[in-house]
């Protein structure tokens, strides 16, 4: 890449931001930071970065609120969710709001830089955990189908790809295992993401709120 990817960090913990910045600062250009929903929307709409690293939980709303706010302001950027959260609903909610991927904060610097580059190029980033959540969602374990009968089912190939990703295979390894190209793996991953995102957003947030009440 001739020009460095411009990245905004959104996390309510200064320590976490500092830590992430130290790890990726060499490879990408961190142009801005924010620690709450309002600030994040302002920084992102002003700076129009290539990629936003977005914490799932934020004061003043959550990750999906930031994505919605930026969308409403008509700014094009890519979101990569970065969280310690393990709650499947929260992760699926932020993906459905429009994030292009989800990685946990335990990810090492090299992998994170790789993930940022992938998102910037318009591809999807599936950590094993996200792949598991998505399989769960489509299998009905997380009852997405109930609230959203229009949710397209995954094709067999997409399921195969997701299963291998959940087993810890890198895209390259998935490709050689299924004897397809890495590009095809990326296409499958993106189409899974699109299927999740196409369905009704409002219903999901209501469902998520309901689930947390129980």
């Amino acid at each position: 890449m001739t020009e460095q990817t411009r990245v905004v960090l959104v996390d309510d913990h200064a320590l976490v931001r500092a830590g992430v910045k130290a790890e990726i600062g060499e490879a990408v250009q961190v142009v801005g930071e924010a620690d709450d929903v309002e600030g994040a929307i302002e920084v992102i709409t002003t700076l129009e970065p290539d990629v936003v690293l977005l914490d799932v939980h934020l004061p003043g709303g959550n990750g999906p609120a930031v994505i919605q706010g930026v969308k409403d302001a008509d700014v094009e950027t890519c979101f990569l969710a970065l969280s310690v959260s393990d709650a499947a609903e929260d992760v699926i909610a932020v993906i459905r709001a429009g994030a292009r991927g989800y990685v946990t904060k335990a990810i090492d610097g090299v992998d994170l830089i790789d993930a940022i580059a992938r998102v910037a190029a318009g591809d999807a980033v599936f950590s094993p955990r996200l792949a598991g959540f998505v399989l769960d969602a489509f299998a009905g374990e997380i009852p997405l189908a109930e609230i959203d009968p229009e949710l397209d089912q995954l094709t067999n190939r997409e399921q195969e790809v997701l299963r291998l990703l959940a087993r810890g295979y890198a895209y390259k390894e998935v490709a050689s295992r299924l004897t397809i190209s890495v590009k095809t793996v990326e296409t499958h991953a993106s189409s899974v993401l699109r299927k999740l995102q196409l369905s009704n957003r409002h219903e999901l947030s209501r469902w998520a709120a309901h689930r947390r009440l129980i």
């Binding site: 309510d12 393990d86 295979y169």
Partner: protein, 424 residues
């Protein structure tokens, strides 16, 4: 008690099902006075005019109509009941048969009231009716109320019950005071006083105790869950973040492993109630097994589980074979982490344990690998499953475990296999 005729048996309120008895609702659209008669008529399935006429008839025949109307009005549900968990009671007969029955009951009531109105017993009939109604309302409603949470309907029913109960008790006492015959004064006075006391106890005891305990229980539950949500949010923002940071930034393997364990335990407590349950399902069981390996060998294990099922002897064997596979990966592979993926499918359970470490040539299985044969392949095969190990030098290792799911546990001949009582 004749009033039962008016107060329909409660039925399940899942939409308007005309074939199941439900509490009649006041019909505010088709009303002459309060809509009570129309509501009753609609529930029985007859024309409202019959009910109205019968109330008038009963009112003429000694005032019963007024009393019954008042009771019906106070008792009938005025709101939409959406979630009353009563057993449905089918109506069984056709509307014309119901009309006939209704007419017979009204006729009987008119005759009875005329009968009592002229006999010396008449002076006791009123107090008895009032108190009986009070008792019936108290009993019936207190049972209904126990079946559902405190909601709009119950608040209405409590106020209605208080008003009606108080009114009836007052009427009972007044009626008793007009009993003037000296003979009846002695016996009737005592009987009425006793009835008043019993009625008061029955009417008010469930209201007071039920209301108090329900309100208390609900408030306590709400406070507890609010506290827990607050604490979860706080811990998530502070401690979990810090623990994640320690794992990333610390060079001391012991500290990293401690932070990882703390993070996992805290997260389990915060997000996964089921994992705290000693009756572990497959998902929680696998997570727990992998947690022990993680702690033992100080290596991160990413556990992804799709679906869940109950644990039986076979599943327990699968869990332990998985644990062995992960322990092998942690011991021998030299990889930085182990990936475990499990999926519960309708007919089969699958577990994949994968590392990207040094690998080995499966054809040249050394004597030190005998443990693999026994503890992984042998164990899973004894329980009707299959195991495959894919590995090659420098390419990492993946262990695939498959266990067909049995529909009926009792068919399993291997239930008392020592594997399942083995402890780690």
């Amino acid at each position: 008690m004749q009033t039962k005729v008016k107060r329909k048996r409660p039925g399940r309120r899942q939409g308007p099902d005309p074939d199941i008895w439900q509490v009649p609702r006041i019909d505010t659209h088709d009303r002459m006075a309060t809509g009570t008669a129309a509501g009753i008529a609609r529930e029985i399935g007859i024309d409202a005019i019959y009910v109205r006429v019968s109330f008038v008839l009963l009112a003429i025949a000694g005032g019963w109509g007024i009393v019954l109307y008042g009771i019906a009005w106070a008792v009938l549900a005025r709101q939409t009941l959406s979630d009353t968990p009563y057993e449905p009671i089918p109506k069984g007969v056709s509307p014309s048969v119901r009309l006939l029955g209704y007419a017979m009951v009204i006729f009987g009531l008119v005759v009875l009231s005329n009968l009592f109105g002229t006999s010396p017993l008449g002076s006791l009939v009123w107090p008895a009716v009032f108190l009986g109604a009070a008792v019936a309302i108290g009993l019936d409603r207190s049972q209904l109320d126990r079946l559902k949470p405190l909601g709009e309907f119950q608040r209405h029913s409590i106020s209605a019950r208080l008003v009606v109960g108080l009114g009836l008790l007052f009427a009972g006492v007044v009626s008793a005071s007009v009993v003037s015959l000296s003979f009846w004064q002695a016996i009737g006075g005592i009987a009425v006083a006793a009835l008043v006391l019993v009625g008061a106890g029955i009417v008010f005891a469930p209201v007071v105790s039920g209301l108090a305990s329900e309100v208390m229980a609900e408030r306590r539950g709400r406070i507890r869950s609010e506290e827990r949500a607050d604490m979860a949010a706080h811990l998530h923002d502070s401690v979990l973040q810090t623990l994640a940071l320690i794992q990333k930034r610390s060079d001391d393997a012991g500290v990293v492993s401690l932070a990882r364990r703390q993070e996992r335990e805290l997260r389990t407590w915060l997000f996964d109630d089921k994992a705290m349950n000693p009756n572990l399902g497959f998902r929680a069981g696998l997570q727990r097994q992998m947690a022990t390996v993680e702690d033992l060998y100080e290596i991160p294990i990413e556990v992804i589980v799709v679906g869940d099922c109950a644990t039986d002897g076979d599943v327990a064997a699968l869990l332990q074979a998985s644990r062995e596979a992960a322990a092998n990966a942690a011991r021998h592979s030299g990889a930085g982490r182990v990936d475990v993926y499990a999926e519960v499918m309708p007919s089969v359970l699958e577990v994949f344990v994968r590392d990207v470490g040094i690998g080995f040539d499966p054809d040249i299985v050394g004597s030190d690998r005998a443990g693999v044969r026994d503890s992984i392949i042998g164990r899973i095969e004894r329980h009707g499953g299959t195991a495959a190990i894919h590995s090659s030098k420098g390419q990492g290792t993946e262990v695939e475990l498959r266990l067909p799911r049995t529909e009926n546990d009792s068919e399993d001949p291997d239930r008392l296999d020592p594997d399942q009582v083995e402890t780690f």
